[in-house]
């Protein structure tokens, strides 16, 4: 936050923005309380009938709704089921059981008969049976639909029938050209279901290159196919297609995406290495490079630290056992880890914070924030102090924080730093208003008192007296200042 608190305050009061608060004129909280009170007082009158009133099960689902009934009817059929099946009864939890990953269908298995006729016919088999009816509120249907099964539908009629899920035979459309005519009809009809199906029909029959060329001039069909290939996880086919189309950046991203499916870290690292040369944009290339380097580092650090931890030689690992491995963690998390376990290491080691900072060009601000959080967590206050101490060439020391001392205070406070430590940094907050706020909030009495003293604000100082403990050193300090001022005034 660069705007100092005082500025902000003024900004808000003078600004045209409306803050979203409740306490404008009437206190709405009290209004809520009021209605709450009213509601509660009414309970005694009507409580008994409560349950009859709303026929709602505790979960709030009205009795009789579909999802409620699934649970009900399911549990009533438990009876003689064995343990494995009883999992079925927990209706609501079942969605966890559905496979979430992209399915592993291969196109070749979907269309086994590639380059053979049977598969081609099988699609029409799928269509050509049983009572098919479109369950939609009735629209009057075109006459064509009332005709009986026929073998010589025009491409247009065929596609229309497919759109409506009607019986139709595709046997007439043998050549790729025929099928492309169908496809064009489907595209004109905009029905994605039919477009995707027909695109597949084409795949099943033609050499890939020819098909790609035909699809290139049929952008809509192409998009549908690419979408399908992505959903179905047909990586190889997808990449071939994108390469053919010269969509190099998409190829790169698609390929990079695959690393997510590789669980083994060594293999993942190798894979990422291969990604570096892919045609990403310049900016992205550097990110991919970093991703690879980071994982490489993590593997080294992990092996080393696991050994250290299990051998029990290192005190820090004994005292703070690791909660999880560092593999595949984000960079900033890795930096935190390194600041936590490897803070004092020389820059030469891979696990040292300064090495990470240098390798990944981590900005000062981010570095300081992370190091501060890690060292504060370990309550290593000397390290915290050192983080902000700079020496000039004359040997004088100076305190400096690239993130602003108010942020330092917040982070320390979050890590339960003792008042003595907090105080030191609150004192360094430059803006008086912010300093006072923080000092008051975190009970750094010394700082408050000194600030009021410097401001020569007697009234505030007196008011503050009631906030410090009676008979404490703080109270004494206030008294002595007040007396001093009085004396000086005379």
């Amino acid at each position: 936050m660069s705007r100092a608190r005082a500025d902000e305050e003024e900004y808000w009061h003078s600004s045209k923005f409306r803050a979203f608060t409740f306490d404008d004129e009437e206190d709405e909280l009290s209004q809520l309380k009021e209605s709450k009170r009213a509601v509660n007082s009414l309970r005694d009158i009507v409580d008994d009938d409560d349950d009859d009133l709303e026929r709602v099960s505790w979960s709030g689902e009205p009795v009789g709704s579909i999802s409620w009934s699934i649970k009900e009817t399911a549990s009533s059929s438990t009876g003689s089921l064995d343990g494995r099946d009883s999992g079925l009864q927990r209706g609501s939890s079942s969605c966890a059981a559905l496979p979430k990953q992209a399915s592993s269908y291969s196109l070749s298995s979907l269309f086994k008969g590639r380059n053979k006729l049977p598969s081609f016919q099988s699609l029409s088999d799928a269509l050509s049976d049983t009572g098919v009816k479109n369950y939609a509120p009735e629209l009057r249907r075109p006459k064509a639909e009332y005709k009986d099964y026929s073998n010589d539908w025009s491409p247009r009629d065929t596609v229309r029938r497919m759109q409506r899920g009607k019986v139709c035979s595709l046997e007439r459309f043998r050549s790729l050209q025929d099928k492309l005519v169908l496809l064009d009809e489907a595209v004109a009809g905009h029905d994605g279901n039919v477009i995707t199906a027909l695109t597949h029909l084409c795949i099943s029959l033609s050499p890939v290159e020819i098909l790609f060329r035909e699809l290139e001039v049929r952008q809509v069909a192409l998009c549908h196919l690419i979408h399908f290939l992505k959903e179905a996880g047909e990586q190889k086919f997808l990449l071939d297609l994108l390469r053919f189309l010269d969509r190099t950046e998409e190829v790169a991203l698609s390929q990079y995406r695959e690393h997510l499916n590789i669980q083994d870290v060594e293999k993942r690292r190798e894979f990422l290495k291969g990604c570096i040369g892919l045609p990403f944009s310049a900016e992205d290339t550097s990110h991919i490079q970093d991703h690879y380097t980071l994982l490489e580092r993590q593997i080294i650090i992990e092996a080393n630290d696991r050994h250290l931890e299990s051998s029990g030689q290192s005190e820090i690992f004994r005292k703070y056992p690791r909660k999880a491995s560092i593999l595949n963690m984000p960079l900033v998390t890795t930096l935190f880890y390194s600041c936590f376990y490897h803070y004092t290491e020389a820059e030469g080691t891979f696990s040292s914070p300064s090495n990470l900072k240098k390798t990944f060009k981590i900005p000062d601000k981010q570095y300081v924030l992370t190091a501060l959080a890690a060292r504060a967590k370990l309550r290593a206050w000397d390290d915290v102090d050192a983080l902000f101490t700079t020496k000039n060439w004359l040997g004088y020391t100076k305190k400096k924080a690239p993130i602003g001392f108010h942020r330092v205070v917040e982070i320390l406070q979050r890590n339960n730093a003792p008042v003595q430590v907090l105080q030191e940094y609150v004192r360094l907050v430059e803006d008086v208003e912010t300093r006072l706020n923080l000092a008051t909030k975190y009970k750094c009495h010394d700082v408050v008192i000194e600030t009021y003293r410097d401001l020569k604000d007697r009234i505030q100082l007196m008011a503050y007296k009631c906030k410090v403990e009676r008979g404490s050193a703080d109270e004494e300090k206030i008294n002595s200042i007040l007396n001093n001022v009085v004396r000086n005034a005379h």
Binding site: K36, T73, L139
Partner: protein
């Protein structure tokens, strides 16, 4: 039970009734007792069409959720799968069917009902698994537009935006057009179609084509809708990114409303009965249905949250007073009168109790420092302040590792409010996000860029200020308690999409040609012929009815803004809203994120 659907200007019960009729027809085809196996995603939307009682009347005895393994041993004649046409679901079905005990007698018959469409690929897949022949009926149930409330329809197509704008797969638009044809079959041809955006153009084309191809669809129903307005979500990418500040909008932002239901933390709803002090607190979330059937909710849902407290306290006083009446009831007649009113009063009391609790839950959040800071930044961006440099608050949030979606919402908002970010600023955000949340999010950032939500400023020109000023998107003097402008729904920002609808009604889009050209996609007008006998003779002072269809999703705050316009005294137009999906910034961004494998530990 569905009274709230008929409360609006257009009676949507008819649509629901049509859906129920088709469902009954299908069920009756499979004669004998039945079990339904549900794709769980569908139970919510179906619940808005029918209750279990309807299914039961048609011999549905058991219901299960779809999962791999053996089907439960229900003693029924038919097993019907209600599923979306997805390959991974076909796998489960095939598994179920293959494991069916062939020896059992009598054998059970299998059927599939695809929602909303049969899929050739899915059937092909079942065939490859060798089970296609096991199904006697394979049909489709076109659940395109589902009535959510008296003025609200949704397709609940989760990935519609992603498919349209990222994958260029327009299947959902086809379904939208289908849904509109169904609506016209029930409510008459809509004489005027306006639209803005590529997808809008596309849907209008499909409608016109479908009408041409169904010459029989020239129906003889008196048109209920005067105008259809088709709006692409990508014409207004800004609105969903901002935090909604209406009551319903905030409930959705914080807890997520699914198919009109919300699940809330149970603590505040603990029944406080006397003499049961030691009773355990419920641990299951409290589930509530939210729609206009509940009088109080209908009154407060579209208000700015800051105006909700006073309504609740006023209601409390009224109800208290009503209950006090019992002391004055002296005669038998008076007592009888009082007692007859009790059920209504009790319903009102329990409704008030629920909403007081919800308001308290929300207030805990809206009064938090972080909510305030976040809102401040949003409002700065929307009013055009400091949109061209790295924002300190966003940086702080990244440093503190706030949820990634929150960061993405803010960065995208800044990008949209600046017609794209300066390359340097964009690179900076990207680097910080990747370093803090993981490099794999590069894929998500790429998706957002492709969708136009996060992009470099290419033209070197920022159009947003012009758009903001012309459309009056930022209003300084917003009145949250007694609003006089739609900007109250975001406490200052007037949703662009709704402004377009408002300006279309009066004075017409011709007045904003320049701005329309700055927004993506074509704008257009089409007319559909209505036979002279069916042309409307408008009574003096009668409002026009406009159907606004949001392609790619709509937020509750936008709905609130349209309802506000409907209720304006001299507004002259009432709105019915349709959409592919009810969204908020979080669910929307989530739908665009690359699905990453969960961390291996």
């Amino acid at each position: 039970m569905a009274a709230h659907l008929s409360s609006g200007r257009v009676n949507l019960t008819a649509l629901r009734e049509a859906g129920r009729r088709e469902l009954r027809e299908f069920l009756d085809k499979c004669a004998g007792s039945k079990a339904i196996v549900w794709d769980e995603y569908l139970t919510g939307p179906f619940g808005l069409i029918a209750q279990y009682s309807l299914l039961k009347e048609h011999e549905v005895e058991k219901m299960f959720t779809l999962k791999p393994g053996r089907l439960p041993q229900a003693d029924v004649k038919n097993v019907i799968f209600f599923v979306r046409p997805r390959l991974e679901l076909m796998d489960i079905i095939a598994d179920n069917v293959l494991r069916e005990d062939r020896g059992r007698s009598p054998q059970r018959d299998f059927h599939i009902l695809f929602v909303p469409r049969r899929s050739l690929l899915c059937e092909q897949w079942l065939k490859e698994q060798g089970v296609l022949g096991s199904f006697i009926h394979r049909e489709q149930y076109s659940l395109d537009l589902i009535p959510f409330d008296g003025d609200l329809l949704s397709m609940e197509a989760e990935s519609a935006f992603k498919e349209c704008y990222l994958e260029s797969d327009q299947t959902s638009l086809y379904h939208a057009a289908k849904g509109l044809m169904t609506l016209q079959a029930l409510y008459g041809t809509i004489p005027q179609i306006f639209g803005k955006g590529e997808c809008a153009r596309h849907v209008a084309n499909m409608m016109i084509r479908m009408k041409r191809e169904f010459p029989g669809s020239q129906n003889s129903i008196f048109p209920v809708f005067d105008t259809l307005l088709l709006l692409d979500r990508n014409v207004d990418l800004l609105t969903p990114l901002a935090t909604q500040l209406t009551y319903e909008g905030l409930i959705d932002e914080i807890y997520g409303i699914q198919n009109t239901y919300v699940k809330l933390p149970p603590e505040k709803f603990a029944p406080k009965k006397q003499g049961e002090g030691g009773k355990d607190l419920p641990t299951e979330p409290k589930k509530l249905q939210l729609n206009s059937a509940e009088e109080l909710y209908a009154e407060i849902r579209d208000k700015n949250f800051n105006a909700v407290g006073s309504v609740l306290s006023k209601k409390a006083k009224i109800i208290s007073a009503a209950f006090e009446e019992r002391h004055h009831a002296k005669t038998v007649g008076e007592i009888k009168q009082f007692v007859s009113q009790l059920p209504h009063m009790q319903a009102a009391r329990s409704s008030l109790a629920n909403h007081t609790s919800i308001a308290e839950l929300i207030k805990d959040i809206t009064t938090s420092e972080d909510f305030f800071d976040n809102l401040t930044v949003e409002q700065e961006f929307m009013s055009g302040i400091d949109t061209d440099k790295v924002n300190n608050y966003i940086e702080d949030c990244i440093a503190q590792k706030h949820p990634l979606i929150k960061i993405l919402r803010l960065v995208c908002l800044q990008s949209v409010c600046n017609s794209g970010l300066k390359q340097k600023v964009l690179d900076h955000y990207k680097r910080e996000i990747l370093q803090t949340y993981g490099y794999e999010h590069l894929l998500t950032l790429n998706n957002l860029e492709k969708a136009g939500l996060l992009k470099p400023q290419t033209s070197g020109r920022n159009n947003y200020p012009t758009i903001r000023k012309t459309l009056r998107l930022w209003m300084d003097d917003v009145n949250e308690q007694n609003p006089n402008d739609i900007s109250y729904v975001y406490s200052g920002y007037a949703p662009l999409s709704v402004r377009l609808a408002q300006l279309l009604a009066r004075p017409g889009w011709r007045s904003i040609e320049e701005v329309l050209k700055m927004l993506p996609g074509p704008h257009f007008e089409e007319r559909q012929q209505v036979p002279t006998g069916l042309q409307k003779k408008r009574q003096h002072g009668e409002n026009r009815v406009t159907l606004v269809f949001f392609l790619g999703g709509v937020t509750y705050a936008e709905i609130a803004a349209l309802r506000f316009l409907s209720q304006m005294e001299d507004g002259g137009t009432e709105y019915v809203i349709a959409t592919t999906k009810l969204i908020n910034g979080t669910s929307w961004i989530k739908s665009l994120m690359e699905k990453l494998e969960p961390a291996p530990f």
